[in-house]
Symmetry: C2
Subunit: 486 residues, 2 copies
């Protein structure tokens, strides 16, 4: 099995370079002064090109061919299957294009930041145009016979087609839109969320709550960035300039990602068996903790006294629970309630498709955004910073990523339903701030498997059925029927 | 000239990987939680091995040969000279050894940290032994016919031999030891230095003073680490747990390094013309600002009111100037006064030689350290943390580095004397906190040249003579004769 070991060692070099790229990206978002960009940009593009060189080397090709007739066990087969897939995709993208895309996204992040801060879409426009053009080129190199968006989506979720995703999104829309309509008239006073809380206090509470659910600070960190994210072996960020609740739910969301990263099998670091299954699964982990746990009553039964005490909140638990679950069109995706959230995703899904197909013009994007926003959510963003410029994803080149959020929410609900069946007294555990059984269930069913199974098989094994919106719809219907006494 | 361009591009990949390694090292020292070490360790060793692969590739060899008969201009010659030197040295070190040394130093830094924190030399002992054994192996691979210490020294200063350095150190010792003896009886009360100053205030002042001398926060940062250092495009650190003055002089020292890094020609980033000349020159820049500027009266004439006000210091400028220049044996090298400093270096120089030659046993190092300390400085460290464990250098594998500090001080004094001749009213400028002329002189004479010239030629061009201890001895004799009215 020398060839197998050699394949793993060579492949691992490429994924370790990728993990270093992530460390640089974390640094760029969280620590790096802007004037270091010319250096960072060369570092990141050199890494991306080298990673690509190694992944697509003749050595890899020879080793993969040599293993075609080998008798592999299931672990080995899973590793080879994913390595081969990545090799095959990467092999089709010219080095020059890889380099160009990497440089463009580095510049893209910076110009997005400045554009967002100065509420000037035009600053971001050239980068955005480039990112989409280069990404479309990449898709066409990988598979010229398939719709480029389908190909881009496969970077984040290889196990579900655009058609399938569209079907799930439609089901969700069909159930949620009438539900939202029934809720619209209701009134919950959530002005509490605009309370001005000392940032030092907030940092303490956010660290406390991340630790409480099991986020491991001996491996990771909690910092501040323009947009919350998880990278560099599960380091997480949040932000304190969009309200104290937004900070908390951001922290819990990212801690979900972080715990997944920290529990991937370390012995397979850099290999498929040590990597996350798919972005849908990754997002299911963050949204599981953010929503199914972090917006639940049992959870706050445990932690609300602490929060209320520290932040000086003048409400009771019942009121607080309603406030954090209030259904209300929000300008910002990551602050949306669970029901309207999917409308934010559908909007982005349509825009990405439109930009790639040319039916939406880049320079018209702010208007298109605002128009669609009005149509789906009934409000218009007063500024582009609060509208089309709110997300970092496009500047990172992550096109086709957004749908995985709703898939993640959907899968999270399905996992939570299965966990409720599997773990006796789960609600009780949560009420006591005891997440050990839950983490252990997630570890056994999701975290420990790495990329052994694709999304559907992983979820079938964990829940007994294919990923589908049923549990998600049930969960939110029940939850909101109770909150709004429907 | 395609071959020349290809050579630069290939070489640059290796130096960019090196710069990424520095970014990871900065992160490890300043930001990384300990539990991420297993990942970081794999990242760093992968980078080091890849860097080595590229630098020693057949491609490099072929390109270098192809340029042997080319007519190169002086810029090109300088680049090729240094690239060839690095290629030739690296080519002789087996990949496996590179990987091993890199992994050992990663572990070394962590075990040094723990050993230092828990004052337990035994924790660091295995790593220390490994680092020296592997470094000696490296030296023997590079040149089996030369004393390994000479070969290791060349990593930091290729332009001066051990014999030359020994000669300079002896001259310095001959002048300083009697001077120190004459001072010994004098008494300056420096208990002020143990004043407890609020760390937030200190951070503000340290940022202020770094900025005042010209350190560019748009490119770099000032953070806290166990041991002050500069890395990752001129980011600097200091520490606040060893006294407020130690923090300030650490900051000014590192800001000197940082300004050098920030002013190396960006267009030649990753190429010899964009790299620092030698560690002696790098240290000359840090010690120039730390000592010749940052411990001078004109400097504090400008900044003392501010400092005194912020820190609530109950002394006048004259007293303060004497306190920060008090000659007194200090346990800690980086807190030593300018006169006793070189004794710290001579001690380390002898120990490094002894460890490599086997005349000093690793397990006896704490005793040897303390014994020599007693002999040279008349005091004995009460703990190993304040003794043999105080410096990070050995854990990093930087053996042969220490002498460059005294060479740096020596060169700094020579540069300062030349700057005084070249810049009208330099003392006046300093008194006004105006360092523009000085920075511009340093830029024109040192910073802008990168590695165009070796140390001696660079210093000859800047000062009209070879690096020598004369100006250094004069400077300190004059300074201390005045302070102690000798």
């Amino acid at each position: 099995m020398d060839n197998y070991e050699n394949l793993l060692n060579t492949y691992k070099k490429s994924t370790i370079l990728e993990s270093i790229g992530e460390a640089l990206q974390w640094d760029q978002e969280v620590m790096m002064p802007e004037g270091a960009l010319p250096i960072r940009s060369q570092q990141s593009s050199t890494l991306a090109a080298l990673k690509h060189d190694i992944l697509t080397s003749d050595e890899m090709s020879v080793l993969l061919v040599s293993l075609e007739d080998e008798d592999l066990n299931s672990d080995q087969s899973a590793n080879v299957r994913e390595i081969k897939r990545n090799f095959t995709r990467a092999k089709k993208i010219p080095n020059e294009l890889v380099r160009e895309l990497s440089e463009t996204t580095i510049q893209g992040v910076e110009s997005w930041k400045i554009a967002r801060q100065s509420n000037d879409f035009k600053i971001f426009l050239p980068s955005l145009r480039n990112v989409f053009a280069l990404s479309t080129k990449v898709a066409e190199c990988i598979d010229p016979n398939t719709h480029p968006y389908e190909v881009l989506l496969e970077s984040y979720e290889q196990d579900m087609s655009v058609e399938e995703i569209q079907r799930h999104l439609n089901t969700i829309k069909e159930h949620f839109v009438p539900l939202i309509a029934r809720i619209k008239d209701q009134e919950i006073d959530n002005s509490l969320l605009t309370n001005d809380i000392d940032v030092k206090k907030q940092i303490d509470f956010n660290r406390f709550i991340a630790k409480a659910i099991g986020y491991d600070f001996s491996k990771g960190r909690l910092d501040v960035s323009e947009h919350p994210f998880t990278a560099c072996y599960g380091r997480i960020t949040t932000r304190y300039n969009t309200g104290w609740w937004s900070a908390i739910s951001g922290t819990i969301h990212e801690a979900g990602h972080g715990m997944y990263e920290h529990h991937l099998p370390l012995k397979s670091f850099g290999l498929p068996l040590g990597q996350y299954c798919s972005m849908s699964i990754h997002e299911s982990q963050s949204r599981f903790w953010e929503n199914n746990i972090g917006k639940s009553k049992p959870f706050w039964r445990k932690f609300f006294p602490n929060l209320s005490n520290s932040y000086g909140l003048d409400v009771d638990l019942e009121k607080f629970y309603k406030i954090i679950n209030k259904v209300e069109p929000n300008l910002i995706r990551i602050e949306a309630d669970e029901l309207t959230y999917s409308l934010h995703i559908i909007l982005r899904f349509e825009i990405e498709l439109g930009l790639i197909e040319g039916t939406i013009k880049f320079e018209e994007l702010p208007e298109v955004w605002n128009q669609k926003f009005k149509e789906y959510l009934g409000i218009v963003p007063p500024t582009d910073s609060l509208g089309v410029l709110q997300d970092i994803h496009w500047s990172w080149g992550n096109i086709g990523y957004f749908p995985t959020y709703t898939l993640g929410s959907m899968i999270a609900a399905q996992l939570f339903a299965a966990a409720e069946d599997a773990i006796p007294h789960l609600a009780n555990n949560i009420e006591q701030g005891n997440f050990e059984n839950l983490r252990s269930w997630l570890n056994d069913n999701i975290w420990c498997h790495g990329k052994r199974y694709l999304t559907k098989e992983l979820i079938r094994k964990a829940t007994g059925k294919d990923p589908a919106p049923d549990d998600y719809v049930d969960y939110l219907k029940t939850k909101y029927s109770e909150i709004y006494a429907l």
